[in-house]
Assembly symmetry: C5
């Protein structure tokens, strides 16, 4: 479904909601700047891409397919075809989802396509509606603005994951439960998936900033380089997060084993103190005819005191050896 | 055994089931397009490869040998010799098998050879029998179609492994058994083997798409690049699977140790509560002549109450410390 | 806030505390050497950067933003824009913080900007105030001096971390507590973060020393190469620290498990010695009418001796098997 | 000790057992093909290498020294000096030994030297004695045949290691003993050592097949490329073996811990069932004057039944919780 | 302190113990060969380096500083400045120390400087005193001889570490103590430190052998290449050592846990056999008025037999399940 179709005429007037025919017309002039954004492609949209814009069938197929596509850039001379990924972190389920943005960048047009609504795209749309000057700097700058907004959305997700990490660390330390482990694993997996999408993404933006593509104006390159720097920062933060998650996992495991050790020490305390005492009681429970102590007047009390001494000595010994 | 031998004449007629002599004749013309597919090579087939097609003896030896060959590409100027791998995942035994396809790609012919039946090859065969236009675009496109079908078969196998992974995670969580561990290990190994075959495969297709080989027409390259993109996607999914399997293994280990901890806690509960009580009973089982409590009228009942108090206090203490 | 603004006139006089207008004037001459240092940028400072120095808006934005920026170097032809990191190790909290220094290096000026006070910058400031000859060798040498001071501050931090490591090892060995583990983890994370900032930093300095930038005079390059060597040394020490921390972690874990093993052995000693003895006592506590031993004159004493023999034999057996 | 010295005269006659003088003479002609193989070098052999062949003293020193030399290739313009490794797997001791073959390859001669007898060399010797045509294709092909035979010997060793691995896995699963662990470790180390020797070896053969050395004829290169493919296959199988060994190690560790868990569960079963029962018996063993139950006619039998009920209930509870 | 100052005059006479002035004089001629070796630099030596040899102040500073410098090579056109590392393994403390040798290599001089006495340098000194021909081949060969002697000293250290490893393995297997673990860790760390110093060292020698520096004569390069091969061998052995140490660590951990398991099994044996028996004895120790078995004539003996049967059956059961 076409979300928007802007056209900035060469004399700086912004036209909105163009029809398919108008798009074809403006394209043919090679002047002004056209931006078409599509969400959840219909067959009509695909037809626009294939026949009006005459994009390569494989690129159009990538837009239509609901599969995950790793970030990539294809140079079709007249236009570049980019797939870049945004990020969506669902804090309650600890799942990081990446959302794809397919982008055709031509001399005087930008065509974007995505399966789900994207905050970064709609924010740029809104800003253009308010102030068409954003489109005056040309197609390469417009594409830059869109990708920049996409990359900026990484930061809040990473901050949320960082918070989640802290929360899991506290949980691991004080109340390690099965669910804590599951959450840590999930988070670790999310971070790994994120790391994996970052690398190709960074390389694409690096290529754009290094002047490998003629469609990117020299003046625009330093701005792409700026996105590249953001991605390097995101990558560094992600690696820090990964260390953090690794450390939370260690904390969890050590917490659980610590807990178990305390339980075992309690068993040891009770058992090692009372087993000898029970043995002593067992001795004087024997029925031998001739057991002199049994006849002593204070035999019972003496034995009680002996038992108390044994018990206290053992407990003291354990304490001294710091076992309890 | 020759499975099929198609010849598309320059005027677009499709001939099937060619004899060895016909193949030689068509080859000599350098026109039209010939596809010969062989399964489980006989010595007669080898003779065809060596003498009619005049392929290099080392390439023919690779076709005949039943050994595993890593994916590779050899450029013999007049033709390319490729080995690419497909995938066969047996869900019940958790084993990933790769199946080899050897492919000779010449100017006007494609010769494929494999040891076992391959779904991808036979699907292309069937499609050509119905519609010979598939062969009109030339040898490079035909080879592309075959490899593309091969790569498309990766996705269902990966999905099945993903499902198996989920199933093993549930099993590891709720009923960790010896067999679960064996299955996780097997799956991990399969994923690693798959990862290892992906890398050279990707590089081969990358070479084909970058124009390193003159036999691949420029128009065809973007289609090979599309296969490359698929392989990158498969690789990313495989890496995700590997993380997943790693995480299932952790779940299993933590499940087993969790189970053991519960058992140990039960031992501790019973032992630490009853050992002191047994000691108390032991005391009053002693046979001292002078034990005043024994003569008290309600001594027995008092002691029973004392024991109950001790037992309940200990249980309460344990519960408060969250040990049980 | 501008911290200082030095100007060394071509005839070797040092002017301090320049006004914004003076800075503009001196800049225009292209002679002498100007150093402006800013801490915690105000909007007025940003204005100076943008309008007087005419730096690129993206570079100025990097200076203003409080975000972490990985080390980088941007070549704007007329000037270089560098971000390098210093280090701040808080021994009590075991946290390594890196502090950023943004530096513009032009033909006859150096502009530095940082968010927090930096010891390395202020030490150079002080030295210049005492002896203006430090500025005579040109902008590239001045930038070198600042970066060199920054890098020299790494060594004390690494030494402190090394000491902390030793202290944690002793703690892990003799008194492994929960907090010890937390500290080890924190230290490991700090070292990893440090490793990660070192690599890009080293590469930047390597680029400066290899003559990739025309603004660095050939004579100055060997001095940058010297900083590079320092960074290689710091990296090697950091990797040694990482091994060390890994080994302290192993020591901690083995210490905890060792401690637990001792506790369990004590349980085993007590239980395996007294359980059989208690059984023997239990036998002679049975009330059978016909138990000949009970009537023997020295039956009780014989049994006591038998018990002692059993107990001592078991203890001796354990000792011989080195279980205790 | 010289093992053999073949000379194929330009008119195709094979001379065997040449004297040192003959070797010198044939060498000088620059025609025909000479192969000298030496085992366990004597000083006389060294003299032949240094003075008749005039090889570089460092290369001769490498031949004489009994040290391990990593695979390498040195280009002395007139001849190549290669060190390649074969493999010897002693299944009973699980040790993989690599055996070195030093090889000088000149325009019309091949000189091989090794410390211990090598199956690959002697098999080629025997084949030449039967059929001198093997030497007709020139020195580069002869060297290829020797290296090929060497590489072919890798496969049986890898298959034996694979079998050993399977056997260890069965052992780890059913009878994990100390020796099993030692064997797994030994095997892992052997595989790692093998992996490490493979990489440089592969790179050397890669160099030979890529035409980096003028002495290797273009026609021979594809045959070296074939050896390269074999080495890639061996490497892939070795990596598979490593995963396998890793997995056997996990199986062993899990087997041992599983075994221990069963033992602990038995302890728990017995202790948690009998400790409460013993307590009950202890109560009625107390000697209080007033214990009404003791006087009941069927008190004893009632208590026996109560005990049986408690015991069975506990056992049922454990079974229901799947603890036993 | 200057250790020696040799000068080989152009007509082959060896002068020893030169004064500072003589050194300056010989240097100026540009003929003959001068070797100056300094240990533990005094300020006078530094003056010689700075003023007589006119070395770059940064290189001289590296010689003076007692810090660790990673291996490096600096090309100052007229001379090369190298830092290479030797090795010192203290077997009793398991510490590997690397010792630095700074070396200036000019057209007709070699200047070496080190902080501690180095066996490799003094052995070359002694050999020259006996036979001055060692200096006839020029400065590059002399530097080669010194570095070669340095590298040859790696082998005995590695052999000692190998022995230490074997000794630790035996200890880990038969008598795992706290100290064994500490030693293993220390050894592992030493090996890692060694690995880390090897890589840059190898690369430096590789550069020298590849003809990157004009001061190294073509004839000398193959000799540097020989050192490179030695370093590759040392690296391979070091990696083997690392695997070995890893495996010793596993042995230790498994030994400790094995030991603990034996202890736990003994506990289980004793407890599970005697706890039920004690319960039986407890039953007949109850004081019920009506307990028919107590009155039986052979009741006591029957019960003793029953107990023996129970005990033996349990022991047999455990043995059959291979628990003991």
């Amino acid at each position: 479904m076409m979300q928007c179709a802007f056209y900035l005429t060469p004399d700086g007037k912004l036209l909105d909601q163009l029809s398919k025919e108008q798009i074809g017309g403006f394209l043919a002039t090679g002047e002004g700047l056209l931006w078409v954004d599509m969400e959840d492609l219909t067959s009509e949209d695909a037809d626009l891409l294939s026949n009006t814009f005459c994009f390569h069938p494989l690129a159009v197929a990538d837009c239509i397919s609901k599969n995950i596509h790793p970030p990539k850039i294809d140079d079709f001379e007249d236009y570049l075809f980019l797939i870049v990924h945004g990020i969506n972190y669902h804090i309650e389920s600890e799942i990081v989802e990446t959302t794809e943005l397919a982008c055709f960048l031509g001399k005087n047009y930008v065509v974007t396509s995505h399966d789900v609504p994207m905050r970064s795209v709609s924010s740029i749309l809104d800003r253009i509606r308010k102030d068409e000057r954003l489109m005056r700097r040309g197609a390469d700058f417009l594409a830059h603005d869109i990708i920049d907004a996409l990359v900026d959305n990484f930061m809040p997700a990473i901050e949320e994951m960082d918070e989640k990490n802290d929360q899991l660390e506290a949980e691991a330390l004080h109340e390690p439960k099965r669910e804590t482990l599951m959450s840590i694993m999930q988070l670790k997996r999310s971070i790994l998936a994120l790391t994996r999408v970052m690398l190709p993404q960074r390389e694409i933006v690096n290529g754009l900033s290094r002047g490998e593509y003629a469609l990117i104006n020299e003046r625009a390159r330093i701005y792409y380089r700026n996105i590249y720097d953001h991605l390097v920062r995101v990558e560094m933060l992600t690696l820090g997060l990964r260390d953090m998650a690794e450390s939370v996992l260690s904390t969890y495991l050590s917490s659980v084993s610590n807990h178990m050790n305390e339980v075992m020490k309690m068993l040891t305390l009770i058992a090692t103190i009372f087993i000898p005492l029970t043995f002593v009681a067992g001795i004087y429970g024997m029925n031998f005819a001739n057991m002199p102590e049994l006849e002593w007047r204070y035999g019972y009390f003496v034995i009680l005191i002996v038992m108390a001494v044994i018990g206290i000595s053992l407990a003291a010994y354990f304490r001294r050896r710091r076992w309890l």
